[in-house]
């Protein structure tokens, strides 16, 4: 779980570096901290170890968690965007507004973060298939996890397309991004807890 926190921070650093903007950090860090704390207090001690290990598996897990962190970050950024957008749109100038990063910047960072997440989850999932195939000789199982991961993938691809080109850019895209992350959380919690076979960790 704390791997998540670390990867979250790492992803954020990459974003910061790529976009050359340090001002967002102050706002993102509390969220990162919150995730860290949640990770600490989550009921995670009933781990049942997966059937086998190996580098393939490790990569699959790490990449998947990286994907989660990318999506989480984009959610956070979208939240900040929505808050600031509301303030600006309604002309409610509070002290905070002057210190918040620019709207466009938030949007772009969110998109970059989603991109990182998509690549990570794409590669990670493929690795997962390969690993399962190596293990059992069969790579397809009817596992809800696969379905929901596909859904997440499609949703985020849609987000990227819409946010950049169509008339969904701005607050609508941000709301979509947040919705997507809710689906991601579902994928992580509900599916892992109740519905999946091979992704049962608790």
């Amino acid at each position: 779980m704390s791997l998540f926190g670390w990867l979250l921070a790492l992803t954020y650093l990459v974003l910061e570096f790529y976009h050359r903007q340090r001002s967002v950090g102050a706002f993102v860090l509390p969220f990162i901290l919150a995730f860290f704390l949640a990770a600490n207090f989550a009921p995670g001690d009933r781990l049942s170890p997966p059937p086998a290990h190996g580098p393939m598996f490790a990569f699959h897990v790490t990449l998947s968690i990286l994907a989660y962190s990318g999506f989480a970050l984009s959610c956070v950024l979208s939240l900040i965007f929505l808050v600031e957008n509301r303030l600006l749109k309604n002309r409610q100038m509070s002290n905070m507004v002057w210190r918040l990063p620019a709207l466009e910047l938030l949007e772009r960072m969110s998109q970059s973060s989603v991109l990182i997440g998509l690549i990570a989850i794409g590669v990670g999932t493929i690795l997962g298939f390969i690993w399962v195939d190596r293990l059992t000789g069969q790579y397809w199982y009817y596992d809800p996890k696969y379905v929901i991961t596909l859904l997440v993938l499609l949703l985020y691809v849609a987000y990227l397309r819409l946010a950049r080109t169509a008339s969904w850019r701005g607050p609508r895209a941000s709301r979509l991004c947040i919705f997507n992350f809710v689906v991601v959380i579902l994928s992580f919690t509900v599916v892992n807890l109740y519905l999946s076979h091979s992704h049962r960790y608790f």
């Binding site: 620019a102 709207l103 008339s167 850019r169 701005g170």
Partner: protein, 425 residues
């Protein structure tokens, strides 16, 4: 080691006088050289901006009241009548001069409180004077302190962070939405003075493209010429609204010139790319209901003046903190000054005591002729040891003195009691 300051600023002199007393780089160099040549100042620094002209200096030891000398120098140098100048000039020395400089570099003496430009100007003036060798240890330390104060005031207080004019507020808002404006375009509706102001601010912030629309083609051309932009036919909304990210409108008209409908279709045509509108017209140029459109941000004159008002109040509360920073650094500088003086004093005292010791022993030992050469030497050494012992402890105590006022008093006392009555060595 006195510090003197002579100068004028926007509070004491009208612009006609300020213009005549300002220094170009060349003039600053000449002035510094002359001041030194004439023995008026041994360290000099000229600070000249559009709102102030000041000469900072350290006079040679002999000068007790240098201000009149400096005033007449200025009057002569710039060929300005002394009586005109005398009502505009202020003189400060020591603590007051230090405090003045620190307030200046902190932006507390500026027309636009907390502005950042003055710090750069102080830095530039210091660098220039330093390169020429016109400054010495005192002014060096003084101006380094000034730069520190300037930095601290700007990073630790909010003085100067918020826009104080409608134009500045508007442009800053645009930056909240778009980030850097360096690849953005603006459309200017109406080519009057208000537009000019906003456009000038936009240009300062690096906006890439400007489009101008005005009913009278001539005025549009003039504005485009002045700021480097393109003129668009009045009323050609279809094309005009496609490219710009910012619209600045200050048209004098009874009815809105830009109806919601037009904006709505424009937004659709530009696939909802964000649009920031500064509607400075009174009455408003853009239909009020257009503010509801998706991704459109409209600020009118009232909104912007409210923001400026808020900022003004916020700024007022920052002033005490800035002044506190200034005071802190004034104290630090004076303490440093006292320490440096102390070192010089102790040295002077030491050599004076040595002289006295030599004279004293010569006469006494002459009467003790039964003593050997060796004994003479030993007695000398013993006296030196005693004097050193007497001297060291008070000097240490003085050096370690925390309370500034006491320190300065003691240094003064030391000088008065032990060194001044027989003249300096």
């Amino acid at each position: 080691m006195e510090i003197v300051l002579v100068g004028l600023n926007h509070l004491t002199a009208p612009v006609e006088v300020r213009e005549r007393v300002s220094f170009t780089n060349e003039q600053a160099r000449r002035a510094a050289d002359e001041l030194r040549a004439r023995g008026l100042l041994q360290e000099t620094l000229v600070l000249s901006t559009c709102n102030r002209s000041e000469v900072y200096g350290v006079p040679p030891e002999a000068c007790h009241d240098c201000a009149p000398g400096l005033s007449s120098f200025l009057s002569e140098f710039h060929s300005v009548r002394a009586d005109i100048l005398s009502s505009a000039l202020y003189h400060h020395h020591d603590r007051a001069a230090v405090r003045h400089l620190f307030r200046v570099s902190g932006g507390l003496d500026s027309m636009l409180l907390g502005e950042a430009e003055i710090l750069g100007q102080v830095r530039e003036a210091y660098r220039f004077a330093h390169e020429q060798g016109a400054t010495g240890p005192v002014l060096n330390r003084l101006f380094q302190g000034a730069l520190e104060v300037g930095k601290r005031v700007r990073s630790e207080t909010e003085l100067g962070t918020r826009p104080m004019s409608v134009a500045a507020a508007g442009v800053k808002l645009a930056e909240r939405i778009f980030g850097k404006l360096t690849e953005r375009s603006a459309l200017v509706l109406g080519a009057g003075t208000i537009s000019e102001l906003v456009v000038s601010t936009l240009r300062d912030r690096g906006i890439a493209h400007l489009f101008v629309m005005n009913r009278s083609r001539d005025r549009a051309d003039a504005l485009a010429q002045l700021f480097g932009g393109r003129v668009i036919e009045w009323g050609a909304w279809d094309t005009a609204l496609l490219k710009p990210d910012v619209i600045v409108s200050s048209v004098g008209a009874e009815e809105p010139v830009l109806p919601r409908q037009v904006l709505e279709s424009a937004m659709a045509a530009r696939s909802n790319r964000a649009l920031f509108v500064m509607d400075l017209g009174v009455p408003r140029n853009i239909e009020a209901s257009a503010a509801e459109l998706y991704n459109v941000y409209i600020y009118n004159m009232d909104d912007l003046t409210d923001i400026v008002q808020q900022n003004r109040q916020a700024r007022e509360s920052e002033i005490p903190r800035a002044e506190a920073i200034v005071e802190e650094h004034v104290g630090k500088f004076l303490s440093w000054q006292a320490s440096v003086e102390l070192v010089g004093l102790v040295e002077a005292l030491r050599s004076r005591l040595r002289e006295d010791r030599a004279t004293f022993l010569r006469s006494r030992l002459a009467q003790l002729s039964h003593l050997s050469e060796q004994d003479h030497d030993r007695i000398e050494i013993m006296m030196d040891e005693l004097l050193e012992k007497l001297l060291v402890e008070p000097a240490e105590r003085l050096r370690g003195e925390r309370e500034l006022r006491r320190k300065i008093q003691n240094v003064e006392a030391l000088r008065d009691l032990f060194l001044s009555d027989r003249g300096k060595p």
